[in-house]
Symmetry: C2
């Protein structure tokens, strides 16, 4: 008799963004004349940069001719892309990461979701609250979280990110083996300083723990004192894996390319006390279950590292940061406390006592604006909403005017 | 302390095709003047069809303009592609599959590898021998196979495919819950008749088992009496999932697109005796761990279903089948028994008592031709080699001349 993975039954009824889509669809059906403005899901809206488009076409042309056609590529990604990533994103910033420590993938969601497969079933996991739902849900599916009781999975160590700690996760009081961190943070938009990250790296080294560091939003950092990679912290290569994406950096949410850095010095333990290379485990996982990223997409991603590409993505992220600034100023005008938005495309707004789904419904129904209810990211998010800067200038300006009108 | 998934330690040292690549690299290093001809890994070599290239470029152009730009797409794939697949590949052949039962992915390797996540840890699995290594290895990683003893994992029910049963898996003698089948078969190139598949569907229905049916090579079937989908068999929708790929059909090995069919009527059991929808489980898995296929790639795949696309992929597969015919005739001339090659791009050659790795080395060293040693696909494959028809006509003709010379 074919039996299901029972852990799926422990998942909450649906994925956050599907819930939102359902409510928005319903509203739109009832109010077909209202033009809804979406500042909810963190999806980019501006076209791929011209340098990327040119390289993408060139990659397609290569596939159109027997002489330049590419079949199966390396599961780890083409060297032409891995070398550019290592040189530009790491070595140029003093982080000692080599091309063969980079694994190109079809996006950070897949990698952050799949990476937990490499670990034992009974490790102890620390996850911030609020948090991007994928870290938690994929561990629920794998059977590491226990039952959902009073709004939380009982085997997870939650790291509360609240006003009192400036929305920064604090070291856990009980020992943990695996720690998920994300900076600039999704959903709160907060950033970690070098001192903040050093504290985590030191903790991991001392406790033989591992950090899964999600840096999908690093290209929004403008403050030069802030680290853009965890490998800017001494010793991090021994205890940290880093996930990145071209999604938000270069508008690749629909084009699909990201990468994961697994340093060769990073080791994990076997039951017999010996250690094995984490790089070897991930390499085996990817070789067995993945077949590499589309060649033209990798050519497109490579163009991000040209001089033109860099200038163009700089403009792209600057445009979104200006949107964030407009949103932040509107929150000040409306008298709302918020964090984020300066080195991040997300603004985390205190709802002044409102439950986040109520606030979501209010903005949808009174302003036709879609945000993301903080409660969807965890219990600590319930008093907040996340507003995303990913939309056109016109839409952001319009949405802010509507919010001022609705909340005055 | 961060502990590893110990199941990875049960895997054999390396993935078959990495082993082959290593031996070929070594040979090439020692013999830089010999032009090695690769008939090993089943990788296509001919350019994408013109209709696909045109649509691919058009998809890239859509991404170049804010007005037509696409961000996150549906995790399940765009309706424009799912509808074409359902209509053309299923409904037109009398199989009652609807668009929302199709899940577009970045390839059949990922899907056949990931699908096992949906099931309990202690189900009993039947896997043919020889077999595409991904089915087995991904279950090893998930801890379902037990230890590797005397060349086999002790908890797997192996379905021997040998000369005596025309290389067709026979119904297991002990009850099993999950069955992997692949037709046209990789590696043997054999096909299953409707009667063969009916026997499996009946078994699955009677025993509440599930069939994972890999149809990645269906486009090579020319014999109109052979089923191209398991859903051509009555009742299969209740007990079978089907995997397909554009890789071999339309030259997408480096472009990456495939799909999985999960009929809504297909149900799996919970421990409490209730059933859940398998479609719902896979939908949840894909929504949580996957972010959809690159939009321009889906546009490219859609073009496979245009009239021009169909004519062009027909030529493409016909060309490879002619190669297979040339290889088959050479085997006859050389006095080797073989199967496959008529409705399949693979030829499975009996090595006349040679061990498959010895035969592999002999062909590499004496003819500069790369095949795949059958032993890499399982114990029953040890007396055989697989020769692939995926190469240019010139290379296939040249390789066959070299083999005649080397083996005369």
């Amino acid at each position: 008799m074919i039996r299901a993975n029972e852990n799926y039954q422990k998942l909450k009824a649906s994925y956050l963004f599907s819930d939102i889509a359902r409510r928005v669809d319903q509203f739109q059906k009832e109010n077909p004349d209202i033009r809804v403005i979406r500042l909810g899901i963190g999806d980019v809206t501006r076209a791929l940069p011209p340098a990327v488009v040119t390289a993408f076409h060139k990659g397609v042309d290569d596939m159109a001719d027997d002489a330049t056609f590419r079949g199966y590529g390396p599961e780890q990604g083409y060297a032409f892309l891995r070398e550019k990533i290592a040189a530009h994103d790491y070595q140029a910033r003093g982080a000692d990461i080599s091309a063969d420590e980079i694994f190109v993938s079809d996006g950070a969601k897949c990698d952050t979701g799949n990476f937990q497969e490499l670990f034992a079933k009974d490790i102890k996991i620390a996850i911030p609250d609020p948090v991007y739902p994928v870290y938690l849900d994929t561990n629920v599916m794998a059977g590491r979280t226990g039952e959902f009781v009073d709004g939380r999975y009982k085997d997870i160590v939650y790291l509360d990110c609240i006003k009192e700690n400036r929305f920064l996760p604090q070291l856990p009081e009980t020992p943990v083996d695996l720690i998920y961190l994300c900076f600039p943070n999704n959903p709160t938009g907060t950033c970690a300083s070098k001192a903040d990250l050093t504290q985590w790296v030191d903790y991991a080294r001392k406790n033989h723990a591992l950090i899964l560091f999600d840096a999908a939003y690093e290209s929004f950092i403008r403050d030069v004192s802030l680290p853009r990679s965890i490998y800017e912290i001494d010793g991090a290569g021994e205890v940290a894996v880093e996930f990145r994406s071209f999604s938000k950096t270069a508008g690749f949410t629909g084009t699909r390319c990201g990468f994961t850095v697994v340093p060769k010095e990073c080791r994990v333990f076997l039951n017999n006390g010996e250690t094995v290379s984490l790089h070897g485990l991930w390499n085996r996982r990817q070789s067995t279950k993945f077949n590499g990223v589309s060649y033209p997409v990798q050519k497109a991603a490579e163009a991000v590292y040209t001089r033109e590409g860099q200038a163009q993505i700089g403009e792209l992220t600057a445009g979104y940061l200006e949107n964030a600034d407009i949103i932040g100023k509107t929150m000040v005008d409306l008298g709302f406390d918020y964090v984020g938005g300066d080195n991040s495309p997300y603004i985390w707004v205190d709802g002044q006592g409102r439950d986040s789904w109520d606030f979501f419904d209010l903005l949808l129904h009174k302003a036709g604006v879609v945000c993301t209810p903080g409660g969807g990211f965890g219990r600590c998010g319930s008093p907040y909403i996340r507003i995303s800067a990913f939309n056109s200038r016109e839409n952001v300006v319009d949405a802010m005017m509507r919010m001022k009108e609705a909340l005055k």
